[in-house]
Amino acid sequence: MSVTREEMVQRLGGSRRSFMKLLGASLALAGVEGCTRMPASNILPYVNQPELTPGLPQFYATSMVLDGYATGLLVESHEGRPTKVEGNPDHPASLGAAGVFEQASVLQLYDPHRARRVRRGNQTSSWSELAAALRQEALRQQAGSTGAGLFLLLEPTSSPLESELIDRLLELYPAAHVHFYAPLATSGALVPLYDFREADVALAVDSDFLASGPFHLRYAREFAERRRPEAGAMNRFYAIESSVSVTGNAADHRLALAPSAIVPALEQLLAALQDRESTKWIGALAKDLRAHARRSVVVASPYLPERAQALALQINQALGNVGRTVWFTRSPLVGAGDARHSLASLVDALRAGEVRTLVCAGGNPGYATAASLGIGPLIKRVPQSVYVGLYENETARDCGWMVPAAHFLESWGDARAYDGTLSVVQPLVEPIFGARTVVELLSLLIGEPDVHPYDRLRDAWRTRGALAGGAGFDEGWKEVLRRGVLDGSAFPREQAAPEFASEERPAAGSGALDIVFRPHPRVHDGAFANNGWLQELPDPITTLTWDNAAEISPADAQRLDIDDGDLVELRAGQRSLRMPALVVRGHADAAVTVHFGYGRDGEEAVARGVGANVYALWPGDRFSISGARLSRVPGARRDLALTQFHRTLEVSTPVRALTLEQFQNLQPERRPKTLTLYQPTAPLPDGTAPHQWAMTIDLGACIGCGACMVACQAENNVPVVGREEVLRGREMHWLRIDWYAIGPPEGGHYRNSVVSKGASVVSGFSRTEPMAMAQPMLCQHCEKAPCEYACPVEATVHSSDGLNEMIYNRCVGTRFCSNNCPYKVRRFNWIDYNAGLSETEQLARNPDVTVRERGVMEKCTFCVQRIRQTEIAARVEHRSFAGSEVRTACQQACPTQAIAFGSLDDAQSPMVAARTTKRAYAVLDDLGTEPRVRYLARVRNANPDLEPSA
């Protein structure tokens, strides 16, 4: 890239500096800050191409760090602007998939509400002024010659580069203090790793390992490998949890317990393993686990009390699983397990007034800490405080200096995955708002503010010696940049097991309720609260958007006479909080779940004022409390922007499930001959087109995490419509996740009586445990599409390769197509949803996909732009191509590989193989629409002891 730029400089006949000036001027004129600002340093595309062809995107490997752990990514860049994030198949935490946060991170890069200026107090300042204020003499004067008054508060980091810089800082200021804090970060010195491919029986204890945590993409992939009955022996999966999670809904058997009942349940399980008396459920589980000793695994949530984690470890040890399905490695986090680095010790110092200079980089401690700490006013009292952050948020408000932080897509750095694997963070663009990285901040503190982070990173890798030295280094280094990952850098397994403290947990009050604190599945700890894609991405359990709610069980709701949206008051000790309630089928009784991340009051326009801040109730050191109370606030309500209100299976059976036994005895479905007056159409493929596109979705593998939805949104320029429009039922997602209530009928909204429609429908749903089943629903590309004949102007037509095409130019917006679509996957631009989009957000748009205007219909296109690109590339190269060469955005993002796409004439492809299995079916097939999307029924490996076959 730098070559191209140098060439341009030559052609312009000017110096590099004048070129930059020119660039800056033209950008200023265009009113677009940072458009196509490719980093000057040498970033290398994932797939080497000799030169940059305008119009063809490049992919670069980088890493996104969340709570200290890296996930490797490949980022699509169009003429120097990143537009789409994919997973890096070479990275252990990704394996090619990308979760919702990774997918949505590209929007955060272009967020117009990001901080744009260095600020001191209310005055605009600059990086060099900050460098002057923090130069050695000044700092020693301020914080003491040994730096005893210098405190750093960083986000947990696994970066060797940052670690080295911190070491150098401590050499310079030996008495300085470094603290790491993120509300959801783990702190143990040893971390557990699991292998779900080896586990025949798995038990998740309050753990959402399939959809959250640093390795969830990998775990989801490995877990799903054992959920395909055609591919080999299925695992049997149990879940014990308080709140309903994605992972719990994927279980074969699920037990809902209040948090305070979980430790006794684990104790009982441990006892039952030693043949002692237990409940039926625990007994059956214990029997199953024992029968699969050394091939089973118990996964405990890191948010559980240490006693529960210790019990889970004991159970694993008793079963001989340790070293097989579960093992431990050193935590890749810098300073892990060392209490000196904790937030608590910083708060003590703040209270004691020992902090002279506080440098706070990343995170948002002013918001995301237990309210009881009162950290905001404490920070405000510090004589000199610096905050480096993405937004002018709660923390920035309390700090003297504010420096805009660089987004990871603008940063040079390195980081480790959960298992220790090293990867690089390389920028796709120059910092859009002149922002700075933590590496630069640390460089500044050690008195080297002008060393370019790229040079620093490269030198650090050269000195570290993990790559070949001398002339060979450049080759190795280029390879690392290209692939993003350093192979073989994972930490070795440790023989030791972590030790857990046994702590006393006082009840927060005299109430009878437990409160469960959880990261929000969409905005995490609040870090993503200003991201419209994530705000509008329905919660995977409740489909709630743009809000958080107190989740309670139907029985509790009935007892307390609470309905969805009723305002309730939660009281824990002296603290209370008001928020709307939401009834969640399957939630444990006598417990209420609340999610972090809402109730923000910084300067972030999207996040501000949305939802309730549950840090107000959070004690800070544990994720559930007992003794709380909940009461309804009479007459007060808040409309909840849910995207789905009904989960009944009364009128149709869009989701299907079989027990393993049913599956094994299942005869291939014989479809009744359709009686028709019309000539039968030729069976496809009929030779009119080289490919006939189709999709197969495995409901056994799908966990409903929603990664596909964000991937689709990013790829296809799907607009964000906002809470009011979601309330009106106008969300625009081309791909949505439908949830259906399975299991026994229960109170609340969800009735359930499975209607048997013919012999082909078999139900393997649990008859005793209330659960939900996910179904990704997108345009089914019906061969006999009801939308097509309804359109008066032929704006939706069928292509020769089997796509149901939408011609935006021709659409007049009668919406007849949507009315006639039984799947209701069409989306209408009720108003101009792209009006008022900031110039930076416009940069996030995929240039290969039309941005739709007001008044036209839109829907899933099977990523037609990707299909046509592949076609064109093949034509240019004078070759034919296989259908599997094209991958849709949803398919690519899916961590469990539940979505398969390809061509029907590719008989060998997994997609075709899957749709010809016994469990394949079409949704609403009795309507005769002949959809091109086929679903595979979920197979449920029920325990015969818990559920005798009917």
Binding site: P786, V812, T814, S818
Partner: protein, 461 residues
């Protein structure tokens, strides 16, 4: 007939070609019908002001819709059609009675139609014009409405003839043109009478222009009668076809609640039903206000009431057929639509209100006493109008709201713009009708006079 053409002139002004009657009975008819054209009563002014206000509200709501987009309404996915199409079908239904009364009854030689036909035809015209505006307005991009018409576009694209919407556009367009012709053709002799009988230079000139030189010769009358019968024949066919085609908007869809073969006759009957109701609802006050009791007699109203009852029974049969077909289908979705979603869904109370207003209340018309009670008659008519609007609402919104996938179910809440446009359309209708009453002879003088004479000479009932 002959007594007609060669009128003897008694009170004509010098130079005029008045074809007005010598007979005092004839004269009474003419004076009674023409009286409103010469004065502006107070009630007219008040009503006009109210309707003008409502129209302004409607225009504002329409302007807001055009400015913002369809998002100004409460429509959503799945309820992509709501008030827009409900109003369309309702108004087009009302627009059926005029032609039905005029054309069918003309073809069937029912002379009593003359009391209402002009009013009904005017009503048709206004209703169809208003109805026609809704499909245009409800488009996402209304400025491309002409893409629904088959015209030789440079790109060589045609409308999709498989879709019911271009049929709809063609049918409604044709119906409107035929209605205009039918109305105007019937009006010509009366315009001539107005020209000749009214005072004031401008007025005479304007009516003179529109009278197209009618002089009342027997050859003109002969041709007029023939033309009227031909257009009546065409219009009668259209009455059946237009609303059948409107019903295809729903019947050709696969949506449960729409997908029903009974819909064409059902919709035609529903249209006539609401049309008769509207004629009654208009005729009753108009005859009182303008003292036209001798022209629109209580016997006439009773005949209309009997027709209303007949259509009510036919429609009730359609309801029964629709529900029993659904029951017989053994399709869980059909069962759910007709036996759960419509009667017990979020709009269940509207469904039951609709049944009461459309089926139960009109049964009072079995009794002569009530058929001749103007208050009862007006109440029943307004009830049917509301009921028919609700029927369309149930069919359209309730079916859409709860489709084949429960995950997609979503309610519908109208916005102020929805209400504004509905109120605006009613007001605009009122406005047009008031102008019609003020400037156009509200009953067919020519026909009334002919029937009177025929009654005298031929002993017609």
């Amino acid at each position: 007939m002959s007594a007609y053409g060669a009128a003897v002139v008694v009170d004509r002004a010098p130079g005029s070609r008045d074809v007005a009657p010598v007979d005092p009975g004839d004269l009474a008819i003419v004076q009674r019908v023409l009286a409103p054209l010469e004065e502006t009563p107070r009630f007219w002014l008040v009503l006009f002001a109210i309707c003008a206000l409502g129209t302004a509200l409607g225009l504002f709501a329409v302007g807001y819709t055009l400015w913002l987009g369809i998002g100004a309404w409460g429509n959503n996915i799945p309820v992509a059609w709501a008030f827009d199409i409900v109003n369309f079908v309702w108004w087009i239904g009302i627009g059926h009675a005029g032609t039905f009364i005029s054309a069918f009854l003309l073809l069937l030689n029912q002379p009593w139609r003359a009391a209402f036909n002009r009013m009904a035809e005017a009503m048709t015209l206004f209703a169809v014009a208003i109805a026609g505006a809704f499909p245009l307005l409800h488009l996402g991009r209304p400025w491309f409405f002409y893409w629904l018409m088959p015209y030789p576009a440079t790109m060589g694209v045609w409308p999709n003839f498989k879709s019911a919407l271009p049929w709809d556009a063609a049918a409604v367009g044709t119906y409107f043109l035929v209605s205009v012709m039918f109305f105007y053709l019937g009006l010509i002799p009366d315009l001539a009478t107005s020209r000749d009988r009214l005072t004031g230079r401008t007025r005479r000139r304007v009516y003179g222009v529109f009278a197209l030189g009618w002089s009342g010769t027997s050859s003109q009358w002969r041709r007029h009668r023939a033309a009227l019968k031909i257009i009546a024949g065409i219009a009668a066919a259209l009455v059946v076809s237009v609303h059948s085609i409107v019903s295809f908007d729903f019947a050709i869809a696969q949506l449960s609640g729409w997908h029903s073969t009974i819909l064409p006759p059902y919709f035609v009957l529903g249209a006539i039903y609401s049309g008769f109701a509207m004629v009654l609802a208009l005729a009753i006050p108009v005859r009182g206000w303008y003292g036209m009791q001798t022209i629109i007699t209580i016997d006439h109203l009773e005949r209309l009431a009997k027709l209303l009852l007949t259509v009510c029974l036919l429609l009730t049969y359609c309801y029964t057929a629709e529900f029993s077909t659904a029951a017989y289908s053994n399709d869980p979705l059909e069962h759910a639509t007709y036996f759960a979603h419509w009667p017990a869904g979020p709009f269940g109370w509207l469904f039951w209100t609709m049944l009461v207003l459309n089926v139960v209340v009109p049964q009072v018309l079995w009794f002569r006493r009530y058929r001749r009670n103007l208050n009862v008659l007006a109440g029943v008519a307004i009830g049917v109008l509301v009921g028919m609007w609700l029927e369309r609402f149930i069919i359209i919104v309730s079916s859409l709201a709860q489709g084949a996938l429960p995950s997609t179910w979503h309610g519908f809440v109208p916005t102020w713009v929805d209400w504004g446009i509905l109120v605006g359309s009613l007001s605009f209708f009122g406005l047009c009708f008031l102008l019609f009453l003020r400037f156009v002879p509200a009953a067919s003088m020519g026909e009334l006079r002919r029937h009177r004479i025929e009654k005298i000479y031929d002993g017609w009932p």
